[in-house]
Amino acid sequence: MINFKKIRDKQLAFLISLIIVLSCFLIADTNLAKKVVSVEREYPVNSESLLKKIPLPIKSDYVVKIKYQSRKMMGAMVWLNQYPLEMRASNVSNKLNVTCYYYAPKDKVMLGDNVFEIKFHGEHPSTVTVRMNNYVAAVADNNIIISLANSVFKNKAWVKLFFFGIILFGCVFWVWRFLVFMGMVLFHESFQRSTFNTALSFSPCTLLFFILSIKSYQGPYLIAISPGYLLLLFVLLTGFTNAVLNLIHVLILRKVFPSIKREYILPTARVEIPPWLIGGGKWFKKRSLADKCIIFCLFVFSCSVFLFMLGVSKWGEPLANVAYTSVLIGISMKLFSLTKK
C-alpha cells in the first residue's frame, strides 16, 4: 500500500530543493573570488597634475574612488587611458578629505597597465588615494557582490555551476530529510508535525534566495554570491530556524496552551517534553551562578561563531563582547569561591 504521508514529504522536499537550486543557479558564481578586483594606491602629490600607471588584472567596468587630502583644492579632472571619467558622487569629510566617485566603463579599461591622469584645480592635495573596484558593494567578507549589470560577474562558468546545482540539490534534499528525522528523534515530534516545522524552517531561505535571484535578474544591479557561502547560509539559517521552531513548539505551545486541542491546528499527538530537555533544565538549575555565566558565554559565543561564519562580524562582535564579559565574571566568581574555600 502506498504511504501518502511519506510521498508528500518527499515531493515537498523535491519541490523546495528545486526552487532553491534554481534560485541559486541565478545568483551563484563559482569563480567569484577570482573575479573580485580591488586595487588601492596612495600617491604623494608634488605638482598640479599626477600621472600614474595602475595595473588591472581583469577587463570590466570599474567604480573609481579617489580620496584627495586637501583643504583648498577647487576640483580635479580625471582621465583613464586619456578618456575623461565622469564624477558620479562626492563627499567632503573632516574638511580635509574630499572623496569622489567615478565610473570607468569596460571598453575604456585595459588589461594590465592603465594610465591614470589627474589635474588639480586650485591648490594640489598632499596625497591622493585611488581605489578601483569592479563592483559597487561587497558584503559578508566579499562573499556577496553587488556589481553593475555590465560587469565581469555576468559571465558564469555554467558547467561548474551545473555540478554545483547537483550538489546543492542533494544537500537541500538530505537536509530536509535529516531535519524531519531529527525533529522526530530529538523533540519527539510526530512525522507530520516535524515535516510541517521543517517546511516552515525552509521558507525564509527559499524566499530569500528567490527574491535575490529575481532582483538580480531584473534590477539594475547584478548580485553574485559564492557557492560555499550560499550553502553555509542555507544550512545555518534553516538549521537555526528549525531548532527554534521545534523548541517553541515543545516548550511554549505545549506548556502554555495544554487545553487547546492542537490536533485541529497541528496534526500531532504526543505531549511530553523530551527527557534530555528536562534533564538539561534540571542540570542548569543546579549549577552555580559562575557556571551559569560560563554556560551563557558558551551560548552567546556559539551564536557569534555563526555570525562570523556568515561574514556579519558587525553583529557578531557585540555578542562576542558579551560572551567575553560573562566568562570573565564566571571565572572571577569561581576564583573567589576557591579563595573562600
Partner: protein, 825 residues
C-alpha cells in the same frame, strides 16, 4: 610479577620516542620553507646577526655607542651578544647548515618542549597518559598558534626566540619549587642571560611578566603548600637573573637615566600622545572573537592590506573550528568532577588567558579602550604596549596553550570511553594542524614584503656584488656613507641574487663594514631637521650641500641604480618619504655637484667619493669658533654672503626672540690659536686615542661623533701615544691631522675609566650635533705636546656588569657542583 621499574620502561621509552619524534619534526619544518641558501632578512633589526653573527658581534653587539645608521648615538646593544656568540659557535660547528633555519628549528622544538614540560610539571601526574597527551596538545598549539605565526613569524625580530625562552622561565621555577632544588633556578637564570635579547624586548616581556605574576600570586595562595619556599625561591630566581644579566642591565639603566637612545624611546616627549593616537586608530579594528579563537583580527589584516592577507582567507575559513579551542576551555570549566588541583589550575590559567585576551584586543565593549587609555596615563611605561596587537601574542599564546593543556587533561579525565577520547584528541590535533598549514608549508615565511600587492618576499640570497661593495667600503676605512636613494626608516633595498626575494630593512652597511650609513630617517631623527637641511641645501647650492656633508662626516655615497626598477607600490608612502633624495634625476645632480669621483661599480651599485674640498677628519682643531643664532636650519643662511671656512666650529644658540636667524653674532666670535699637529687612532667606537703636538694656544677640538656629556677626555702618557704614528691611515695636511690605521679592539680593561677622573674641560655641542672641547695646553702637564684618550664612559658600565655577571656565573657553577655532590652523598 615484574618489578615496577621494568613494567614502566616500555611506556617511558614510548613517551620519549613520541616526544622526540615531535621535536625532530618541528625542528625540521623551517628547513623546508625555502632553499638552503635563502635567508629571511630585512625589517628593523635586519636579522643580519643570523646571516653573519661574527660581523654583528665585531661591529655592533659589544659597544654602547651605536646606531643602525646615521650619526651614532648612545644606544647600548650588548644585550644581544651572548646569543650572537651562541650563533657564531653554531655556525662554526654546523657550517653546512643555514644558521637562520637552525635557530628557527630550535625555537620551534624548544617552544613545544618547554610548554610540554611546564604543563606536565603543573599537572604532577607524569605516569598518566592523559597528562602526556594534554601537555603535547598544549605544546603543539603553542608552536602553531595562529596569532604568533601571523604576527611574530612574518618579520621575526629578537622577540621570536621568546617563543622558546619565556615558557622555559616558568618551567625552571616550578621545577625548582616542586623539587626543592636551587639548581633549576640557576639554570633558568643562565638561560635568561644567554637569551637576554628577549628580555630586553620589554614590550613583549611585559605581557608575559603580567601573566607570570598573576600565576605566581594565585599559585602561591591557592595551590602551593610551602608558601615560604615559593617566596624565597622567587627572590633567589630574580636575584640570580638580575646578577647574570647585569652586563646589559647596567648600561641600559644608565642609558635610560642619562639621555641615551633608550630614554628617548621610552620616556621621550609626546610618547603618550603618540601611543593614544596609535591605540585609537588600531583598536577599532580589533575584536575579541578572533582573539579568543587565537586569530589576529580580520579587519586589521584585510582593512589595512597587510601582507598576511595572502593567507588569511584560508585561516578565517576555518575560524569556526578555531572556536572549538576556547569552547574546550569554557566546557572544561563546567566539569565538577576531577582533581581539585586541576580545577584550581584551570581557573587560574583561564583567568590569565582572559586578561591577556583583553590586552591583545583592547576594543571590548565601551570600557576596553577607556581602560587602556587610563593605563597609559597612569602606569609608567605602559606606552610600550601602544602596538598591543603585536606585543601580546607570545604571552597570550603561552597562557592560552597552557590553559588548553590543562582543560584537555580535565576533560580526558572525565571521559571514560577510549573511542570518545581518541575522537576528542584527534579532533583537537586536526584543528591545530589544519589552521597551521600556511605556517607549516612556509607560506608565512614567504609573505610579501610590505603589503599584499607586492609580489616579492623577504627570502633572499645576498648578491655577490653587495658583499663585494661592502668589502670595498670596509677597505676605505675613513668617513661615513650615505646610501642613495634615501628611504624612510633607515631602510636599504636590494634584490636577491635569485628568486623573488627583496631585502627591505635597516642598512647592512653598519653590520658589514662598521661604518655609519646616513640613509634614512632614523639616522637623522634624533637631530631633527637634518633631512630637510640636506634637501634645502641641494636645492640651494652645491657648495652648501658639500659643506653640510662635510660637517656630517659623510665621505662616500653608495648609489643603488636598481631602485628604479622596483615595483611602483614600493615607491610610495613611508618608504619614499624624501622624494627629492629618492628621485634619480636629483640623485645624479647631487652626485655631479658634490661627488665627482666614482670609485667603483659593483653590479647596480656605484660608489662615489665626496670631493676632498668638503671632507673633514673625524677629529680636527677648529680654526675659528662662532656662535650662530638659531637652530641647525640656520646653516642654510651661511652661504649667503658670508665667507665660511669648513673647519670653523659653530655653536648654535637657540633664542626664539633673536631676529635674523643664522647670522653670526659678533660678540660670539672666539678666536682660536694656530693649528696644532694632531694624530689620532680609533680603538673602538667608544674610544679614540689622540696625540697633540705644538699646541701653543688654546683651541677648540672637534670630535665628529654625536654630542653626549659622557664623552670624556682622559690624560695619558705621551709614550703611550707614540705607537699612533707608526701606521698612518690618512693625512689631512690642511688641518695638520693624521689618522692612524686601526683595528677594532674589545677592551674590557677600560673598566678602569670608572675610577679615573676625566679632565675638566669646556665641552660643547658643535655644529648642532658633534662634540667640541676647549683645549688649553697649560691644563696638560707637558705643555705644547700631550696626549689623551677620548672615551665614552658608559662603555665601562658594560665592562663592570660583564665582570659581575661572569663572576656570579662562575660562583653559581661552583655552587652547583658542590650542591650536586652533597645531594648525592
Amino acid at each position: 610479577m615484574l618489578p615496577l621499574s621494568t613494567r614502566e620502561l616500555p611506556d617511558k621509552r614510548k613517551k620519549i620516542s613520541f616526544l622526540l619524534l615531535i621535536v625532530v619534526i618541528l625542528f625540521c619544518i623551517p628547513f623546508f620553507w625555502s632553499s638552503p641558501n635563502h635567508y629571511n632578512l630585512g625589517g628593523d633589526d635586519s636579522r643580519l646577526y643570523l646571516y653573519s653573527p661574527y660581523e654583528w658581534l665585531h661591529n655592533v653587539a659589544l659597544y654602547s655607542w651605536f646606531d643602525i645608521s646615521g650619526i651614532s648615538s648612545y644606544n647600548p646593544q650588548q644585550f644581544s651578544f651572548p646569543f650572537v656568540i651562541l650563533l657564531a659557535l653554531l655556525q662554526k660547528i654546523f657550517f653546512f647548515l643555514n644558521i637562520q633555519k637552525l635557530a628557527w628549528g630550535l625555537t620551534l622544538s624548544f617552544g613545544f618542549f618547554s610548554i610540554y614540560l611546564f604543563i606536565e610539571e603543573l599537572l604532577q601526574d607524569k605516569n598518566n597518559l592523559n597528562s602526556t597527551i594534554s601537555a603535547a596538545i598544549g605544546g603543539l598549539l603553542y608552536v602553531f598558534f595562529p596569532l604568533i605565526f601571523y604576527i611574530d613569524w612574518p618579520q621575526p625580530l629578537y622577540n621570536l626566540y621568546a617563543i622558546a625562552v619565556f615558557p622555559s622561565f616558568l618551567w625552571f621555577f616550578l621545577k625548582a619549587v616542586n623539587n626543592a632544588d636551587v639548581r633549576y633556578l640557576l639554570g633558568g637564570a643562565v638561560v635568561s642571560a644567554l637569551f637576554s635579547l628577549v628580555i630586553v624586548n620589554f614590550p613583549w616581556f611585559l605581557p608575559f611578566a603580567i601573566g607570570a605574576f598573576i600565576f605566581l600570586v594565585l599559585y602561591c595562595f591557592l595551590i602551593e603548600e610551602n608558601k615560604g619556599r615559593l617566596g624565597f625561591y622567587l627572590l633567589l630566581y630574580v636575584l640570580f637573573s638580575i646578577l647574570f644579566n647585569l652586563f646589559w642591565i647596567i648600561p641600559l639603566l644608565h642609558s635610560i637615566l642619562f639621555g641615551g637612545f633608550a630614554s628617548e624611546a621610552t620616556v621621550g616627549g609626546g610618547v603618550k600622545e603618540a601611543a593614544l593616537n596609535v591605540i585609537h586608530s588600531v583598536a577599532p579594528s580589533m575584536n575579541i572573537f578572533d582573539t579568543l579563537c587565537g586569530l589576529l583580527s580580520r579587519e586589521l589584516i584585510f582593512g589595512w592590506n597587510w601582507p598576511q592577507k595572502v593567507i588569511a582567507k584560508y585561516t578565517f575559513n576555518f575560524s569556526a573550528f578555531s572556536a572549538l579551542l576556547p569552547g574546550v576551555i569554557f566546557l572544561s570549566l563546567l566539569i565538577r568532577q576531577g582533581k581539585v588541583r586541576t580545577k584550581k589550575l584551570l581557573v587560574i590559567f583561564s583567568l590569565i588567558t582572559v586578561i591577556l585576551a583583553y590586552l591583545q584586543t583592547v576594543n571590548i565593549g565601551g570600557w576596553g579602550v577607556k581602560l587602556f587609555d587610563w593605563l597609559i596615563y597612569t602606569v609608567p611605561w605602559w606606552t610600550m604596549l601602544r602596538n598591543f596587537f603585536s606585543k601580546v601574542p607570545i604571552a597570550y599564546g603561552i597562557f592560552f596553550s597552557i590553559t588548553i593543556g590543562i582543560a584537555v587533561f580535565h576533560v580526558l579525565e572525565r571521559i571514560n570511553k577510549q573511542k570518545i577520547k581518541r575522537i576528542f584528541v584527534a579532533g583537537l590535533i586536526v584543528v591545530i594542524l589544519v589552521q597551521a598549514l600556511p605556517f607549516i608549508f612556509g607560506r608565512v615565511n614567504a609573505l610579501p614584503v610590505y603589503n599584499a600587492d607586492i609580489p616579492l618576499n623577504r627570502n633572499i640570497i645576498v648578491p655577490d656584488y653587495y658583499r663585494e661593495t661592502t668589502e670595498y667600503i670596509k677597505k676605505l676605512r675613513v668617513g661615513r656613507v650615505l646610501t642613495l636613494p634615501m628611504t624612510f626608516a633607515t631602510w636599504s633595498i636590494f634584490k636577491s641574487s635569485c628568486g623573488k626575494g627583496l631585502y627591505v630593512g635597516s642598512s647592512p652597511i653598519k653590520v658589514f663594514t662598521g661604518k655609519d650609513d646616513f640613509n634614512g630617517k632614523m639616522g637623522f631623527e634624533r637631530i631633527s631637521g637634518l633631512p630637510e637641511l640636506i634637501i634645502d641645501a641641494y636645492q640651494k647650492d652645491a657648495n652648501v650641500l658639500g659643506y653640510v656633508f662635510g660637517k656630517l662626516g659623510v665621505r662616500y655615497m653608495l648609489y643603488n641604480t636598481q631602485m628604479e626598477k622596483l615595483p611602483e607600490v614600493l615607491k610610495t608612502g613611508w618608504l619614499w618619504e624624501y622624494e627629492t633624495l629618492s628621485n634619480n634625476k636629483s640623485i645624479k645632480s647631487i652626485l655631479s655637484s658634490v661627488a665627482n669621483e666614482r670609485l667603483a661599480v659593483f653590479g647596480p651599485l656605484e660608489i662615489y667619493k665626496i670631493n676632498d674640498e668638503f671632507f673633514l677628519p673625524h677629529i680636527y682643531p677648529a680654526k675659528k669658533a662662532s656662535v650662530v643664532k638659531g637652530d641647525i636650519s640656520a646653516l642654510m643662511s651661511l652661504s649667503e654672503g658670508i665667507d665660511l671656512d669648513k673647519s670653523d666650529v659653530l655653536f648654535f644658540e637657540k633664542n626664539e626672540t633673536t631676529k635674523g636667524k643664522g647670522i653670526f653674532s659678533d660678540e660670539g666670535r672666539i678666536e682660536g690659536g694656530n693649528n696644532p699637529e694632531i694624530v689620532f687612532k680609533k680603538i673602538n667606537p667608544t674610544k679614540f686615542s689622540v696625540e697633540i703636538k705644538n699646541a701653543k694656544h688654546p683651541f677648540w677640538l672637534v670630535f665628529n661623533e654625536r654630542f653626549h656629556e659622557d664623552w670624556n677626555i682622559y690624560k695619558t702618557q705621551i709614550s703611550d701615544a707614540n705607537t699612533l704614528r707608526n701606521d698612518e691611515l690618512s693625512s689631512y695636511s690642511q688641518f695638520g691631522v693624521k689618522e692612524s690605521e686601526y683595528r677594532l679592539q674589545f677592551a674590557p680593561q677600560d673598566f678602569k675609566f670608572l675610577f679615573l677622573k676625566p679632565m675638566d674641560l669646556q665641552h660643547k655641542v658643535a655644529n648642532a650635533y658633534a662634540n667640541a672641547w676647549y683645549i688649553e695646553p697649560e691644563n696638560f702637564e707637558k705643555s705644547n705636546n700631550f696626549s689623551f684618550v677620548i672615551y665614552f664612559l658608559p662603555q665601562s658600565f658594560f665592562y663592570l656588569g660583564l665582570l659581575i655577571s661572569v663572576f656570579s656565573m662562575l660562583l653559581s657553577v661552583i655552587f652547583m657542583i658542590v650542591y650536586s655532590i652533597k645531594r648525592r652523598s
